[in-house]
Each structure stands twice: as structure tokens, then as C-alpha cells.
């Protein structure tokens, strides 16, 4: 006998990928993004340089306190009027005025010609110029001045419990990967669950549940749907990642990802990713099956999509205190553990016990949810035109 879950998965997968909407969002959209990037990379620098060339990147200033010294880039004007004329003639890109009470108020007025993207006000450049002049004006020697401008070139050393130096592991790429995977997990859940909700909603609206269940068991049907829609989600994410990688490796960011090792951390992140996806998929399918339409299914399953998003709300706190009680609780809670554990990986050494416990809890949760969802899904698929009440859902769970 053929694996009927695979028949369902293949059918659902092809049904979605043949749709024009999927072709647009999954393929055309990233292609457009890639074309935009290629355009930006090839034409933006020349556009910027054209803009800069007209003014030679020069900035004017009018200094009523007399502490600034002009340079090749910073041209001094004695009054506002000639500076304005130079700005209009495109001799300078902008100018600023240092008022007489600057040492009391720090007040600087910046003039520029328009607020266009290429002609935006160079605030950081002006700040740097002011700092240099202030250090010189205050007679700070060159060495100290340089240190004030660049106070540290940090080298981090981590000690273990015995005081020995631990091997440095935080390459930027390796640091970013778990975050990227956490983000991808959320994105995959959102994408796949969207398709899953739509698919089950359509199933309920077309009332095919009874016909399907006469040919295939509810568990097989549920597995097939999760596999089919999950594959659609992963295909979409895969296309985005592929396009993203092409973009990254054709940009200066490529250097960050050179020499990334497929470490245990990376393997664990993949494991959390897969387990996390299945837990969310089985929960969302269950929620969708007790609703009467796609719209209602979206509302019902909101509770589970919220579980995926909540860890992000705590992201800043988790990063500041990755070993706090809150972080640990989130690590054990099955719906948040994939995202939170992936966030904590690059920040702290998570104990073996914590990792094993959270994975075991996650696997048990998937087992329990699959069992419960199978029952709810079977009965939910037979209900047409109305949402199952809580009492009815409890009744479904009591079914043999």
C-alpha cells in the first residue's frame, strides 16, 4: 500500500506552487529584489559620485566663535549670505553656522539645498570636524585626541570555571547564524502556517473532509498536510535564502561569512528548527480544523502564531541577560524553546542538561500534540459551517 501521507503532501504541494500568487511572492518578488540590488550596486555608486562631484563633497561653515580651522573639505565663509550663494551654485553640498553662544548652547544651524536621498545632511561628518577642532582648541595633545576619537581596540578573553582561557568562538558569521535560523524559523512558521490555514480552511469550506476520511486516516491526512504545506514554506524560504546569499556574497558583507564551521551549535540549531516547525504546524492544523472558514481559522490559530512572536518581544532582555530565570523558562517552554535557545547559543554556554531537557520536552510536546490534534482534527474535519465550542473540543478528545 502506498504511503498516503505522501500522496496528500504531493497534492497539497503542487496545488500551491502552481498558483500564480505563489510564483509571484516566492520567485518574482526575490527576483525583483535581486534586480534592484544589482541596479543599486552598479548604478548607485556612480549616481552618488555624480552627486558628490557637483559639489566636490565640500561643506561650508560660518563660525561666529572663531575656533574652527578650514580644511580642503570644510570651506569657511565670513557670513551666511555668501555661503548661501555657494550652496545655490552647488559649490558646496551644505553649510553650517556656529552661533556666538555655541559654548553654552552647542547650537549649530545646518543649511542644505534639499532633503533628497543623495544630498542628505552629513551630520556625522560635521560632528567629527567639530570634535577635532574642539580637541585642538582645548590643547589636547595628538595622542590623547586620537584616543578620545577611537578609545578602544577590544580583545575579548573568556575564562572558564577554573580560570583557564577559553577558545574564542564568536566569529561574526557564526554569531549571526543562530539568529538567522531563529528568524528563519519564525518566517517559516508564518509562511507555512499561512498555507496550512488556507488549505484546511478551503477543505472545510469545500466539505471534502468526510470523503477524504473514508480513504485515509485522520493521522495520515494531518501528516500529509503538514508535510505538503511545510515543504511549500521551506521552498519559499529556500528561494529567499538562495537569493539572499547571492546578494550577500556579491556585497561587502561576504567577508563576515568566510570560514563558518558547521559546528555542534549549528547542528542543534537545525534540530530545534525542525522540531519547532513540527510543533507549530501540528498545533495550527488542529486549530484550523475546528474553525468553519479560512478567516476563522486564522483567528483561532493566532494563539500559536503569538507563541512564535512573543520570544522576539523579549529578545532585547534575553540578549542582556541570557542566563536569567526568564530566559531559562522560555528555553523549557516548548513553543518558545526553538527561538530562545537559538538566540542564547551565541551569547552563553548553555548547559548540556538544559539542551537535552528542552529537546526532550519539545519531542514529548510534539508527540502529545500530534495525538490530541489527530483526534480534534478528525472530528473537526467533519464539522461544517460552525466553529467547534470548547465543550465539543473536550468531547473530541474523549473520542476513542
Amino acid at each position: 500500500m502506498k504511503n498516503k501521507s505522501l500522496i496528500v503532501a504531493k497534492y497539497e504541494f503542487l496545488k500551491i506552487v502552481k498558483r500564480k500568487g505563489f510564483l509571484f511572492f516566492a520567485i518574482l518578488l526575490p527576483l525583483l529584489a535581486m534586480l534592484s540590488l544589482m541596479f543599486a550596486m552598479h548604478y548607485l555608486p556612480s549616481l552618488i559620485s555624480q552627486t558628490t562631484n557637483t559639489t566636490n563633497g565640500k561643506i561650508g561653515f560660518v563660525d561666529y566663535t572663531n575656533f574652527l580651522e578650514s580644511t580642503q573639505e570644510f570651506i569657511e565663509y565670513m557670513d551666511i549670505q555668501p555661503a548661501k550663494q555657494s550652496l545655490i551654485n552647488d559649490d558646496i553640498s551644505s553649510f553650517f553656522v556656529v552661533q556666538k553662544d555655541y559654548f553654552n548652547t552647542s547650537k549649530i544651524t545646518i543649511y542644505s539645498k534639499d532633503g533628497s536621498f543623495f544630498g542628505s545632511t552629513p551630520t556625522k561628518t560635521i560632528e567629527g570636524f567639530l570634535m577635532k577642532n574642539l580637541l585642538r582648541y582645548g590643547n589636547v595633545n595628538d595622542v590623547i585626541a586620537e584616543k578620545i576619537e577611537n578609545p578602544m581596540a577590544a580583545e575579548k578573553i573568556t575564562l572558564d570555571e577554573q580560570g583557564n582561557i577559553k577558545e574564542e568562538k564568536s566569529k561574526v558569521g557564526g554569531f549571526l547564524l543562530p539568529y538567522a535560523l531563529a528568524f528563519l524559523l519564525i518566517l517559516s512558521i508564518m509562511t507555512s502556517s499561512g498555507y496550512l490555514l488556507q488549505g484546511i480552511g478551503e477543505e472545510k469550506e469545500s466539505r471534502t473532509g468526510e470523503l477524504l476520511l473514508s480513504s485515509i486516516s485522520a493521522d495520515q491526512l494531518l501528516r500529509g498536510k503538514i508535510l505538503g504545506y511545510g515543504s511549500v514554506g521551506l521552498l519559499q524560504i529556500g528561494i529567499w535564502i538562495f537569493v539572499g546569499l547571492i546578494m550577500i556574497f556579491n556585497s561587502p558583507l561576504a567577508g563576515l561569512f568566510v570560514g563558518i564551521e558547521i559546528s555542534l551549535v549549528f547542528a542543534l540549531a537545525i534540530l530545534y528548527f525542525i522540531l519547532g516547525y513540527f510543533l507549530f504546524a501540528v498545533s495550527i492544523a488542529c486549530a484550523a480544523s475546528i474553525s468553519s472558514s479560512t478567516r476563522e481559522a486564522q483567528q483561532t490559530s493566532m494563539i500559536f502564531t503569538m507563541f512564535a512572536i512573543i520570544p522576539l518581544m523579549f529578545a532585547q532582555f534575553i540578549m542582556m541577560a541570557p542566563n536569567s530565570m526568564v530566559a531559562k523558562i522560555f528555553t523549557y517552554f516548548p513553543y518558545s524553546s526553538p527561538v530562545i535557545t537559538m538566540m542564547r547559543f551565541p551569547l552563553v554556554e548553555i548547559s548540556f542538561y538544559e539542551i537535552v531537557s528542552s529537546i526532550v520536552i519539545l519531542i514529548i510536546s510534539i508527540g502529545v500534540m500530534t495525538k490530541l490534534s489527530g483526534k480534534i482534527f478528525r472530528m473537526g474535519m467533519l464539522m461544517y459551517g460552525k466553529r467547534a465550542s470548547l465543550r465539543e473540543v473536550v468531547g473530541f478528545l474523549k473520542e476513542k
Partner: protein, 292 residues
């Protein structure tokens, strides 16, 4: 025995939907599953198909307890018109047929579309079909894998007389080829014409079960009269459904029809006097009303 149901009980929210029901269906027979709305027919079918599990009792099909393999030997036409609307007719049939374990599907699709005059819709979307055509498409899905048992829930629902006859002819053809057919319907005339045996349930309880002819004989005879005048009180008649110029006389068991004819002659001007077994529709109504 193709299907054997023993002491089947199923309840929802402590309400007994099926109450200790036993029956069997033989090979090659057309079996009628009857009952008023809410009697428990659909629940019964769902339990037979293992979509729902019984609280008590057992279902045996081909002498075995239910398994996933058995599903491939059963065809089912549900009452609900459940079809995917946005896919092609041929794709819809192919998907459901593959779930029944079929492999060489395409030639069968053409055969059945041709037989039900739907060939020209093969590559059209299901939603372009009329309701009647969609019902025919569901019928194809239920039989394309040549099942040993075919379970039909209101098979003629939504069909015009021409297509009703077409489906009926196909069913009789399938029966002659050895297919067992279980049919749940409210259309009693179709049951009378097609079914060998019936089971009638009401409020989850078995109220009639057996050969159609035996049941009809058991419920006695009635006489249809067309007349002029005033009908007298006649011995041996249990109930009179008088319509003015015609009447149906429901007879007591063992009533003598000759005596009744003698009693009527001379008292009314008789234009028609027809003795017949009672229709299944009358028996159905009587049974349901007696249960109230």
C-alpha cells in the same frame, strides 16, 4: 457475509445516537439504510467507514475488523457535496483515486466520464460544473476503484430524472457484477425498486430489518378505491385515508378483501377497487409516527 454489525452503540454528549444495533449485509445485495432525519444513518455510515469509533459493539467487513487496507475496497458517496472547486475535473478524480490505492487511473477516468456524459468537462474546473454534474462527479469518485462495497448516502440528491435513471442503471449493472451496495435515502420508491433488504432506524434504534417483501407482507395490505357516494363503515378496515372521490383503506391483519368488496357494492358507486401491499413510504410514516 460482506458486512456484519453487532450491538453497535454510539453516543455524543451522553445522547445515544445509535443504540445497540445489529445487522448484516450479504454479498451482491442492495441494502437500504432508512430512517427519518436525525435517526443516526450518517453516524452509522461513519462508524462502518471507521471515521468514527463506536462506544460499544463491533463492525466486521469481509470477515475482518477494520483496517486501512479495507478502505481501498470500499467506495463512498457522502450526502455532502464535498469537492475541490478550483481544480480540474480529471485532477480531482485522480487525487481521490490515488488515495484509494489506484495506479492506472487515466483510462478509468475517460471510461467513467464518457459513461456519465461528462467527457467534455474533463479539463474544466470543478466549479464550472452544475450541482447535478458535481454529484455525478462524486459518484465517479466513489466507484472508479471498483470497490467491493459501495456506500451511497442520498445518491439521487440533486439529480434530474434522466441522470437519476442513468445512475440507477449503473448501480444495477454493478450489482450484477457482484458489488454490494448499501444505500441510505429518503426516496422510498427508489428503495422499493432497488433494495433486496432494508434496515430502518429511528432515534438510534432498529425498528425494521429484513427482506423488503417480508416487511411489506408483515404490514398487510391496503385497498385503493375510487367511488361516488359516502363510504360506509367497513369491518376489517383499520384506517381510512379518505380523499373525497378516492380513498385508501388500510386493512387489519387477516382481513378478507372479498367481504370488503361485498360491503362496498351497492353502498357506493365503485369505479376502482385495487388490492395492494402497502408502500414502503406508508410503512415508513407509520413506523416513525408510532415511535413519537
Amino acid at each position: 457475509m460482506t458486512l456484519k454489525v453487532e450491538n453497535l452503540t454510539k453516543s455524543f454528549d451522553s445522547k445515544n445516537v445509535l443504540d445497540n444495533i445489529s445487522f448484516s449485509v450479504k454479498k451482491d445485495e442492495v441494502f437500504g439504510l432508512l430512517g427519518p432525519n436525525g435517526a443516526g444513518k450518517t453516524t452509522m455510515i461513519r462508524v462502518i467507514l471507521d471515521i468514527l469509533k463506536p462506544d460499544l459493539g463491533e463492525v466486521e467487513i469481509f470477515g475482518e475488523y477494520f483496517s486501512e487496507e479495507i478502505k481501498e475496497r470500499i467506495g463512498y458517496l457522502p450526502e455532502e457535496s464535498g469537492l475541490y472547486k478550483k481544480i480540474r475535473v480529471s485532477d480531482c478524480i485522480r487525487y481521490f483515486a490515488s488515495l484509494k490505492g489506484m495506479e492506472d487511473i487515466d483510462s478509468k477516468i475517460d471510461y467513467w466520464l464518457e459513461k456519465l456524459n461528462l467527457q467534455e468537462y474533463k479539463n474544466k474546473n470543478v466549479q464550472e460544473l452544475s450541482k447535478g454534474m458535481q454529484r455525478q462527479l462524486q459518484f465517479i469518485i466513489s466507484i472508479i476503484h471498483n470497490p467491493d462495497i459501495l456506500i451511497l448516502d442520498e445518491p439521487f440528491h440533486g439529480l434530474d430524472p434522466v441522470n437519476t435513471k442513468l445512475i440507477k442503471d449503473i448501480l444495477l449493472e454493478l450489482k450484477n457484477k457482484g458489488m454490494t451496495i448499501i444505500m441510505s435515502t429518503h426516496q422510498m420508491d427508489e428503495v422499493e425498486r432497488m433494495c433486496d433488504r432494508i434496515l430502518m432506524i429511528n432515534k438510534g434504534k432498529k425498528v425494521l430489518y429484513g427482506k423488503l417483501n417480508d416487511i411489506k407482507t408483515q404490514y398487510g395490505f391496503s385497498i385503493i378505491v375510487e367511488y361516488e357516494g359516502k363510504l360506509p363503515k367497513i369491518g376489517g378496515v383499520e384506517k381510512v385515508n379518505d380523499y373525497g372521490s378516492s380513498a385508501e383503506l388500510i386493512l387489519e391483519r387477516n382481513a378478507n378483501t372479498q367481504n370488503i368488496l361485498k360491503n362496498l357494492v351497492g353502498k357506493v358507486e365503485l369505479k376502482k377497487f385495487e388490492v395492494k401491499t402497502r408502500s414502503l413510504n406508508e410503512i415508513f410514516i407509520e413506523v416513525v409516527e408510532n415511535e413519537k
